[in-house]
């Protein structure tokens, strides 16, 4: 048990180091912080709202992650397959699951770091007013889970192809679907044709439905279950895809 966890850590460590061995990681962090700043203060109207909350900050995360998370995760498996290191990795004493977890944890940690670097916005809102910091904490938790769900989807699409661009596009499409099926303009449109039960069922698959709870300061076990199910399912699909490639 100890040694299998150590293997996961070794893989995660290698993956994380490889992020920072190229300037791409730093470019990503800068872009992420610039965009969150822009959306929060300019597009989100942080000051005009006149309320001490980070609603305008978190509201944009599903859309921001839509592009940025696939960019972080697209290389996870496709690059290993393209360069042939997959053969090297999987003939070392590891199980497919250890490799998947190691890589997933590393890139999730990277995204968590990016998210953590947005701390000035928390300071700002605390200086300007007295926000409910509990709501901010759950907001961050929801945001992290959302990033994890997108990342797991990207992990899956990355295992499908040796082309990073293809992996990126497919994961953006899947994540877009996960947003839109619960996005109110879309669901409102759907209610004209479909029965409310159908619309609710489809909307239940949406990250938006489950993300919004966290922004209100509510940690609902169903929302947690949803995000962890998406992550679990996508990573399971990754293992199936990796195995099927090798079976030929």
């Amino acid at each position: 048990m100890m040694s299998s966890w150590k293997t996961v850590r070794t893989i995660a460590h290698r993956e994380l180091t490889s992020y920072f061995s190229s300037p791409v990681a730093y470019v990503f962090l800068v872009i992420f912080l610039l965009l969150t700043g822009f959306f929060t203060f300019t597009a989100g109207g942080f000051f005009e709202r006149g309320e001490a909350s980070l609603a305008s900050f978190f509201a944009w995360h599903p859309w921001l992650y839509l592009v940025l998370v696939p960019a972080v995760g697209m290389r996870l498996w496709s690059e290993e397959r393209r360069s042939g290191t997959l053969e090297l990795l999987l003939t070392m004493p590891v199980t497919t699951w250890q490799a998947i977890l190691g890589k997933f944890i590393a890139s999730w940690a990277f995204l968590a770091l990016a998210l953590a670097l947005t701390f000035p916005v928390v300071i700002t809102v605390n200086v300007l007013g007295s926000p409910d910091n509990g709501v901010i904490a759950t907001g961050y938790l929801g945001s992290l889970l959302l990033a994890g769900a997108y990342l797991a989807v990207t992990c899956m699409t990355s295992a499908m192809t040796r082309n990073q661009v293809v992996a990126f596009i497919i994961s953006v499409l899947i994540c877009l679907f996960l947003i839109l099926c619960g996005y109110s303009p879309v669901t409102d449109l759907l209610t004209r044709w479909a029965s409310p039960v159908v619309v609710d069922t489809v909307a239940a698959f949406s990250v938006m439905t489950h993300f919004n709870g966290f922004q209100k300061g509510v940690i609902d076990s169903r929302d947690l279950l949803f995000f962890f199910s998406v992550i679990g399912f996508a990573l399971f699909a990754t293992s199936v895809i990796l195995r099927s490639h090798r079976a030929g």
Binding site: S83, E87, L88, L90, T91, P93, V94, T95
Partner: protein, 306 residues
């Protein structure tokens, strides 16, 4: 150490490996020969547990590859074809990663890295990024990774591919030395490597084993083996014809014996004949047979294949 029984791998309707059976014991270096696409790499990938067999069994050190893959992978050091390595890492970082993955820590880890760096002549590029290395260095970095845990079984897919002649020579010697205490399987399509490093060779063609034996045995399969080449003043084909079939090759006569097993007997008979006839011989040689001729005669060239 390695037991392979009736191994089959199908990719769709194509049987890339079709009923391969062989064993490799400790102290053996098995050369795996065959034309491109014969199934060498596929067989090695099945031994190392990268792809599962469609049929048949692979056992390494008594462990079945499908049932206990981790035990098998711990025993094996593997150099995949084209020697992949993480381009964003340094040589040292990469070897440290391989050591971590093999469960080496602390003192044992740094000793292991030191040992393989010396074995594979990597000290001059130790802190260089792998993406900046020449092909030969990259190849040896991947080879070093395969040796880091001093494995009992080595599976090397074209270990000398892309190396210059000096490096080839070094790697062959390394393989031969390692083979004294380990079970080694390596694939190649360079026939001289079989003589240079192998204790045994298997020739595989279209997924099937077509020859299996020591390099000398394989050479013995050659039509040329046991023939005597003779040249000199006054040598006459008519007189030689009494000893066997005669051919004229590059100005020399080549006599093929009726019975191959006679060994050096034919050469003595030719010498005796020369003395009787008063020929002034310049050269008299018993042919050992050539591996490339054996290889060509038992494997069909690509151009013939459908």
């Amino acid at each position: 150490m390695i037991q392979i029984e009736n191994l089959v791998k199908s990719f769709g309707p194509k049987r890339a490996v079709d009923g391969v059976t062989f064993n490799v014991e400790r102290g053996e270096v098995l050369g795996f020969l065959g034309p491109n696409g014969a199934g060498k790499s596929t067989t090695m990938r099945m031994i190392t547990g990268f792809i599962p067999p469609s049929e048949g069994k692979v056992a390494v050190g008594g462990y079945d590859v499908v049932e206990s893959p981790l035990q098998v992978k711990r025993l094996i050091g593997y150099l995949p074809e084209a020697a992949p390595a993480y381009p964003d890492m340094t040589v040292h970082g990469f070897l440290a990663f391989a050591a971590d993955m093999r469960g080496l820590t602390g003192e044992a880890k740094s000793r292991a890295i030191g040992r393989v760096v010396e074995l594979c002549f990597l000290s001059s590029v130790l802190h260089q990024g792998i993406d900046t290395l020449s092909k030969g260095y990259k190849h040896r970095t991947c080879l070093a990774q395969a040796l880091i845990h001093d494995p009992e079984v080595l599976v090397l897919d074209e270990p000398t591919d892309g190396l210059d002649p000096n490096q080839k020579h070094e790697v062959r010697n390394l393989i031969r030395d390692l083979g004294r205490s380990k079970a080694v399987v390596f694939s190649t399509h360079i026939l001289e490597e079989v003589d240079a490093a192998c204790t045994r060779a298997i020739i595989i063609d279209r997924g099937r084993i077509v020859a299996n034996g020591t390099p000398a045995e394989l050479r013995g399969m050659s039509a040329l083996a046991g023939a005597v080449t003779v040249s000199g003043e006054g040598v006459k084909a008519e007189a030689l014809a009494s000893l066997g079939r005669v051919e004229l090759v590059d100005g020399a006569y080549r006599v093929f014996p009726a019975d191959k097993s006679a060994g050096g007997e034919l050469a003595r008979e030719v010498a005796a004949l020369a003395t009787r006839e008063g020929w002034r011989l310049e050269a008299l040689r018993t042919e050992e047979g050539q591996l490339d001729e054996v290889f060509r005669s038992i494997t069909l060239p690509d151009t013939v294949k459908k």
